[in-house]
């Protein structure tokens, strides 16, 4: 699978134009360089190079001593220079791997290149358009291309791989990697073969996939399509196919792929880059703990179940929050529950201190879980600590058994019938007693009250 990722940079790959947003006026973030005017020259963006190297290091790739850019030559209206500056035979990194769901997916290479512009077709459908329009705002935006070996064997695996890659990229800060924002594009190359056969079948390449869900569906569709072709004795044609979200199917795009000879040659305007070891080691040592190892460590240290790990381990910020709250003294399992059950779905992060405080308040029954949810929301919104909020609202529950025993005794005396019912086996009768207790003392923690009553009744 080829994944194109836009690294986090403020300017383009080879010129100083700022990177725009969706919805910007067309051709408003362009200069003579990214417009491909005569006489211009490319100068590579240092931040893009470092993001690519960091990604490569995080994927365990080998980094050569030198790397270079190459020209990929073809003419198309969204390609201003008539060639794309990319990397061909001496890319920034090769031979890495990513562990996904217990399996290792080999990474063939990670390299850097520039993006093309955007084409808008009159009538919206390429094959019917009588003219098209070119917006070059995106031309020259940096792209990292991450290519895996054909080690993915199902739509599930492919999606997991893409998700894991995204987590990794976000963890190391190389990219925001939001597929919906176009910062990450997945292009699976799909082939099928008879079970037991060693040779790979003819592959098709899928484009225009804009979400993990689409990735999954597109692969499922394409595998089925190829299966049907082969079963009816027809060959699979090697080609590029587009995924149509609207029609939920793949369709053939230009099969120019192998008609085109890209005539790669080394980019003469950019001297080869020396990737000296001190620089590489600096980048490597500045990498944060990677998701895979971190997950492993968290499970080992705290015994978290896989379902929790799936959420917490997928996001660096959630993992940071978890560890921070535990370090602040809150019990691990409960912190995990709160993160998985409340924080992650809401998308809003409390500070680790506040979360720890909250969890402790609930676990030592100062407040109920229900109250805890409200406090969390308010804490995130206002930034105030849970303690402050609880004090303000008077949420604090009485859980002290000694205190509650006094009232429990009084309640039992005042409700002889309920007490007798309970003793004779009708356990639900305790609710009457609990209700009375909370009438007399609204802050009584219901659960503890119940326990105290039961103790006294027995």
């Amino acid at each position: 699978m080829e994944v194109h990722v836009q690294p986090r940079t403020r300017s383009k790959m080879f010129c100083g134009c700022a990177i725009g947003e969706l919805g910007d006026a067309p051709n408003s973030h362009v200069c003579e360089v990214c417009l491909g005017l005569p006489g211009v020259l490319p100068v590579p963006n240092k931040a893009a190079v470092e993001a690519c190297l960091k990604t490569a290091l995080a994927l365990g790739c080998e980094i050569p001593r030198h790397t270079k850019f190459d020209r990929k030559n073809y003419m198309y209206p969204d390609l201003p220079k008539g060639y794309q500056i990319s990397q061909y035979d001496l890319p920034m990194s090769v031979n890495g791997e990513l562990e996904v769901g217990g399996r290792k997916v080999r990474i063939r290479r990670v390299h850097l290149e520039e993006d093309t512009g955007k084409l808008i077709h009159a009538g919206d459908k390429l094959h019917k358009a009588w003219e098209s329009y070119v917006d070059l705002n995106r031309a020259g935006v940096p792209l990292m291309e991450i290519v895996s070996e054909p080690d993915l064997h199902s739509a599930d695996e492919a999606r997991e791989y893409a998700v894991e890659l995204r987590t990794l990229l976000r963890t190391i800060g190389a990219s925001e990697a939001e597929m919906e924002k176009g910062q990450m594009r997945a292009e699976p190359n799909i082939s099928i073969r008879r079970e037991g056969s060693k040779e790979l079948g003819v592959k098709t390449e899928l484009k225009n996939i804009n979400s993990f869900r689409a990735l999954h569906r597109a692969i499922l569709f394409e595998v089925e399509r190829q299966k049907q072709l082969l079963e009816s004795g027809d060959p699979v044609v090697q080609e590029t196919r587009g995924w149509s979200e609207a029609e939920q199917r793949t369709f053939s795009q230009r099969s120019k792929e192998f008609a085109e000879d890209y005539r790669y040659f080394p980019e003469p305007d950019i001297p080869p880059l020396e990737l000296d070891r001190p620089w590489i080691e600096d980048l490597r040592s500045a990498l944060p703990e990677l998701p895979g190892p971190r997950r492993g460590r968290l499970v080992a240290e705290h015994g978290l179940p896989p379902s929790d790990m799936a959420v917490i381990g997928a996001d660096r910020e959630l993992a940071d929050l978890f560890e921070g709250a535990v370090a602040a003294g809150a019990p691990a399992k409960q912190v995990a529950n709160w993160i998985v059950g409340e924080v992650a779905p809401s998308g809003k992060l409390p500070s680790a201190q506040n979360l720890a405080e909250l969890v402790k308040l609930v676990t030592d029954r100062s407040i109920t879980r229900e109250q805890g949810r409200e406090v969390l929301v308010e804490s995130v919104e206002t930034g105030r600590t849970p303690a402050e909020i609880v004090a303000e609202h008077g949420h604090r529950q009485v859980s002290d058994e000694g205190e509650l025993e006094v009232i429990a005794a009084a309640v039992i005396d005042a409700n002889p019938k309920a007490a007798a019912d309970y003793r004779s086996g009708k356990k639900q009768a305790i609710n009457v007693l609990i209700r009375d207790m909370t009438n007399r003392m609204p802050q009584a923690n219901r659960q503890v009250a119940g326990e105290v009553l039961a103790k006294l009744l027995d």
Partner: protein
């Protein structure tokens, strides 16, 4: 009086300007008048820039009066049609860029403007700098001021002719295979190509990216040297530009050749096709250099014979890629009524590019294509390494290399256009310098049959100061000053 003003050196002109004897406006006017008189015959210029020269001359005069005149204040220059100047129609001698006005100025030119230079206009050249005679210009051929029926050389023929005819004091050209040095030789002026990377290529309409360099034409070595030093230096917009200080090109400039070893490569000395008159002029020049104290040594550049072949793979290959951007979409000529994009590309480029350009694009595309890349482009780059090593070896035995710049003097217009290979052979003594990235100059060293002959001096990489030193010493010892041609 006005004609005298077109025969000055930078030093003399600057002195007169500083003294107030003349104004920058006077200097420009004198040149414009000379252009009006002569250029219909010479046809060095494609278009003129009166708005620019007025503004720049006024600015120069203002600063001269203030007493803080920059080094080239008021100096009239002409700029080859491949160098972008903001708001000025720049077409690379081609129809495909007719009407194109760049929104920016080439760094090298901008630096000369900042130094006070005054732009007279845009000079003619072979289309996309491909040629050795300026006959490939899609507009018209420029004529040699010494004989209007002959070529001025190319591709920077317009720039060379403008200086030779006294129409400009300084002009800018570009050199990819000899396109500054060869026309300088044919027109009897000084022309210099710097080390690759010395001068920023930002704003130079690219022909062959690993060979192109910008350089000055002048009527004496001093003027060329000053101009070059002002254009040189790191440009953050050009990743291939060096951070070496521009001023170093002037180191030891006047030290003379006494004690220097000057290498004469036998393969250049005896090159096939060298005219006897050219050879004789070179011999005379070597004699003078010996008299001035230089030691002439024999050197060898064994792979000289393969240089043309390597050049005519690398240059077309790179140009085929550089010219892919001319597609009629964002600028330039365009077949807007074409029924589809493929037709638009086809028609635009067929009509917009001349024959030589199309020939080289085809050749270059072929040399890069799958299946041929190893045998052609890769092979040529390896041969290039061999050629560079030849020079490295030679420079162990000498400080600079001297030879003829061109095997022939200016040839009649039309005499080589039917046979591209014969035209390519014009560069056989200059293209080695491009392949090896070396600095080189051509200085006038006499005539043959009344037509100028040029002496080439090549130095090691970053050795502009050595090249200029030898050239200057020769100029002084020979008293061979570039003359301004009378034309009519």
């Amino acid at each position: 009086m006005t004609d005298d003003l077109t025969q000055l050196t930078i030093k003399d002109a600057s002195r007169l300007l500083r003294l107030g004897s003349i104004s920058a406006a006077d200097l420009v006017t004198a040149h414009v008048q000379r252009i009006e008189r002569l250029d219909e015959h010479v046809k060095a210029f494609l278009r003129f820039t009166p708005e620019l020269w007025e503004r720049q001359a006024n600015e120069a005069d203002r600063r001269i009066r203030q007493g803080d005149a920059p080094p080239l204040a008021g100096i009239p220059i002409a700029v080859k049609d491949v160098l972008c100047v903001r708001g000025v129609e720049t077409t690379a001698g081609s129809q495909i860029l007719k009407g194109f006005k760049p929104p920016y100025t080439a760094t090298a030119v901008a630096r000369l403007f900042a130094a006070g230079a005054v732009m007279l206009g845009v000079t003619n050249c072979d289309e996309f700098a491909m040629g050795s005679s300026t006959e490939n210009s899609s507009y018209f051929p420029t004529r040699n001021p010494w004989d209007l029926e002959r070529v001025p050389g190319g591709s920077s023929g317009g720039s060379a002719a403008a200086v030779a005819a006294g129409e400009a004091m300084i002009s800018l050209g570009t050199d990819t295979g000899g396109s500054i040095r060869q026309p300088a030789a044919l027109c009897g002026v000084v022309g210099m190509k710097p080390t690759y990377g010395r001068v920023s290529r930002y704003g130079l309409i690219a022909f062959a990216s690993s060979l192109d360099q910008i350089g000055p034409f002048a009527r004496n070595v001093d003027d060329a040297a000053i101009t070059l030093s002002l254009m040189s230096g790191l440009d953050p917009l050009d990743a291939t530009s060096s951070d070496r200080a521009g001023m170093e090109v002037l180191n030891n400039f006047g030290a003379g050749v006494k004690g220097m070893r000057l290498g004469v490569p036998r393969e250049y000395y005896d090159v096939k096709g060298i005219e006897p008159g050219v050879k004789a002029a070179i011999d005379a020049a070597l004699f003078i250099l010996r008299q001035a104290g230089a030691e002439i040594v024999d050197v060898s550049l064994p792979h000289t014979d393969y240089g043309l072949a390597a050049y005519y793979i690398i240059a077309p290959a790179e140009c085929s890629s550089n010219l892919a951007r001319f597609d009629g979409v964002r600028y330039g000529m365009s077949e807007v009524d074409a029924p589809n994009i493929t037709e638009q590309y086809l028609e635009t480029r067929r009509k917009g590019f001349g024959a030589e350009v199309r020939r080289r694009v085809m050749l270059g595309t072929y040399a890069l294509s799958s299946g041929y890349y190893d045998a052609y482009y890769l092979k040529a780059q390896k041969v290039r390494t061999l050629i560079k090593r030849d020079f490295d070896e030679a420079f162990k035995k000498c400080d600079a290399i001297v030879s003829a710049t061109s095997p022939t003097v200016a040839f009649p217009i039309g005499s080589k256009t039917q046979d591209p290979l014969s035209m390519y052979l014009c560069d056989v003594l200059t293209l080695g310098g491009n392949l090896a990235g070396l600095p080189g100059i051509s200085v006038p060293c006499g005539t043959s049959d009344g037509l100028p002959v040029g002496l080439q001096v090549l130095g090691p990489q970053w050795g502009e100061n050595v090249v200029l030193r030898v050239a200057r010493a020769y100029e002084e010892a020979s008293e061979m000053k570039a003359q301004v041609a009378e034309v009519v």
